[in-house]
Amino acid sequence: MKHEKRSLLRNNAVQSLLASLLCILIGLLVGYVVLLIINPAGAGEAITTIVKNFMTYSRRNAQLKYLGSTLVKTAPLLMCSLSVLFAYKVGLFNIGAAGQYVVGAGASLYCALAWHMPWYVCLLAAVVAGAALGAVSGLLKAYCNVNEVISCIMLNWISLYLVNTLLSRVKEATSPYTLTLASTNPGAILPRLPAFCMAWFNDNQYVTIAIPLAVLIAVAIWVLLEKTKLGYELKATGCNKFAAKYCGMQENKNLILTMGIAGALVGMGAAMLFLTGFEQWQCTQSSIPGMGFNGIAAAFLGGLNPLGTILSSYFIQHITNGGAYVDKTMYSAQISDFISALIIYLCGFVLFFKFALNNWLDRREEKKAARVAESAEEGGKAE
């Protein structure tokens, strides 16, 4: 059989990449228009500041250092997006990543500050806490038919208030922030990278093993989903719960397991940030940290591929950090949140985009085939 040459545009990965780039482009464009409306004078500068992020520093050392800072926050974001992606592949929408992130932070910080545990115990505690919270949503879905989106949102708020109460026991006397790890328990800080790696980031002290670990886990998730029996079973359950049951899979167990793994990923991500000492928890926080929600953006922008999310997580964190550099006398830092929310919205159109693209390709091929047939016919007449 003749091997047909397929257009490069037919490739699913290429289509996903195109769609994501289009989402980014439109998102940035709309963001620019909004900046123009707010204050036309600085809009051009502001949007380039957001896109440039640490490149706005002119000194190379400062650039390297703030590249490190962006990466420090990319690691937890990558974990959140992996979690969202993992659950989505099994047909669940893990909007509870935000809450699992909160309990992960709470568990790791409490173990570190109140019980003076070493870093690996704190990391494990965060994983367990996140997994437990995720499993609650899974249990409710499996046995009580509660929509996981609703239960996750309720758990997000419950965990926020719980963690605020818990961590106010280990907070600084004069501020709403938790004690610093460096002063209370340096043993809980994640190990730094080897010295030659640290030089890449101008010895940014917050750069730890969390960054390569997150990338490794992304690869592991890809292997789990694509190359193992468990991954196949989970995906099958997501496609059709009843068919999976018919085939002898334990669909309820799979649901709970999925949410548990998803929660564990996020909990670990939270520990990866808070155990670097980069941030302290603010115990009077009245809104849920945006990390988990940004994870949704990164997961979909990455075309729901674990390896794609490495890039997209970096991008989302890049513009989020960039937002902090805009001229505060004209604009607010939330403009980056606005742009990433827009990008999530646009990701909703990706399926349609692929459908339209394939349609267009089909039509083009049909026309081409028709033209070839026509010319062949004409050629036949001439003879």
Partner: protein, 313 residues
């Protein structure tokens, strides 16, 4: 005690309005997770109207204009969901989530920009409406009657009549149950779904302005509406997508939410010495427990969340 009743009623009004909004949208076949974002947008519209109306405006005109502004902004914002979910067959959960994030971020960016434009030092995301808020309140012997409570009752009655007693309502529900069958008897499913989503935008926007004026006289838009849109969804599920049951469910949830505001006024609750965060958590815990017990036999509209495709069999 009167204070508890007052807060219960006002929070129940919010929940009734927003849950009815969700009810219309879901009966037409579109899941509206974006109610939270719609509420923020409605709240923004109403708050801006209160801020910019001149001080001498009569109470009636004030109420009318504020309500109209909230409804209008809520409806415009809900178009984002309608276009994506109905015309482009997008994942409704994803789009709804995006709308929630977009609503809060957008409103914050807007309000901050407005505040900074007024004075460079003001980087807050707060709108104040102390004087304007008085137009909505009538004091009846210690009980602050809020005109929004009446609006909620009217909306409830109207929703019941529209859904069960009019041709439009019955057709709307048909589109959420079996759109192919509805289409086969000449109902335009796309139009009906647009109507459902727009009505939910209207009620959601209205609920938003009621929520932010319920307790305080200024609002920080960075906080969004603190998960109230999702509480309303829980109310809707607990109310089994039926207006009358939704009203009862809203009263129950409103009561627990109100407790958080006024628990210090009760000696026996104060004596328990629970931290205030327990009361903050209460509505969410209750809704989780209630959902766990009632979702098993819930009767959601059959075709909700499934994009309608004319060519599908």
């Amino acid at each position: 005690m009167i204070l508890l009743l007052q807060y219960t009623l006002i929070f129940a009004s919010v929940l009734v309005l927003v849950a009815l909004g969700g009810c219309f949208s879901e009966h037409s076949g579109v899941i509206n997770i974006g109610l939270e974002g719609i509420m923020v947008m409605g709240a923004l519209g109403g708050a801006l109207m209160m801020k910019f109306l001149p001080a001498g405006t009569s109470a009636f005109l004030m109420i009318l204009l504020v309500v109209l502004a909230a409804i209008l902004l809520g409806m415009i914002y809900s178009l984002l969901l309608a276009v994506a979910a109905i015309n482009f067959k997008a994942d409704q959960t994803l789009v709804g989530t995006a709308m929630n994030l977009l609503g809060t971020a957008g409103a914050t960016v807007f309000v901050k920009a407005m505040n900074t434009a007024e004075s460079v030092d003001n980087v807050s995301s707060t709108i104040q409406y102390i004087d304007a808020k008085k137009a909505f309140l009538v004091n009846i012997g210690g009980f602050e009657f809020n005109w929004f409570m009446l609006l909620a009752v009217i909306a409830l009655a109207a929703a019941y009549v529209v859904l069960y007693k009019t041709r439009f309502g019955l057709r709307l529900m048909a589109c959420g149950e079996h759109p192919q069958a509805a289409d086969s008897v000449g109902i335009n499913v796309y139009k009906m779904r647009y109507a459902g989503v727009l009505i939910s935008g209207m009620l959601g926007g209205l609920g938003g302005i009621v929520y932010i004026t319920a307790g305080v006289s200024e609002w920080k838009f960075e906080n969004g509406v603190a998960g109230f849109g999702f509480l309303a969804l829980a109310v809707m599920i607990f109310g089994q997508w039926k207006p009358t049951r939704i009203a009862l469910a809203a009263l129950l949830f409103g009561f627990f939410r109100a407790l958080g505001n006024v628990y210090t006024g009760f000696d026996f609750l104060k004596a328990l010495e629970l931290p205030s965060s327990v009361y903050n958590m209460l509505p969410y815990i209750i809704s989780l427990v209630v959902l766990a017990f009632t979702s098993k036999k819930s009767r959601a509209p059959k075709a909700e969340g499934v994009p309608y495709d004319k060519g599908q069999r």
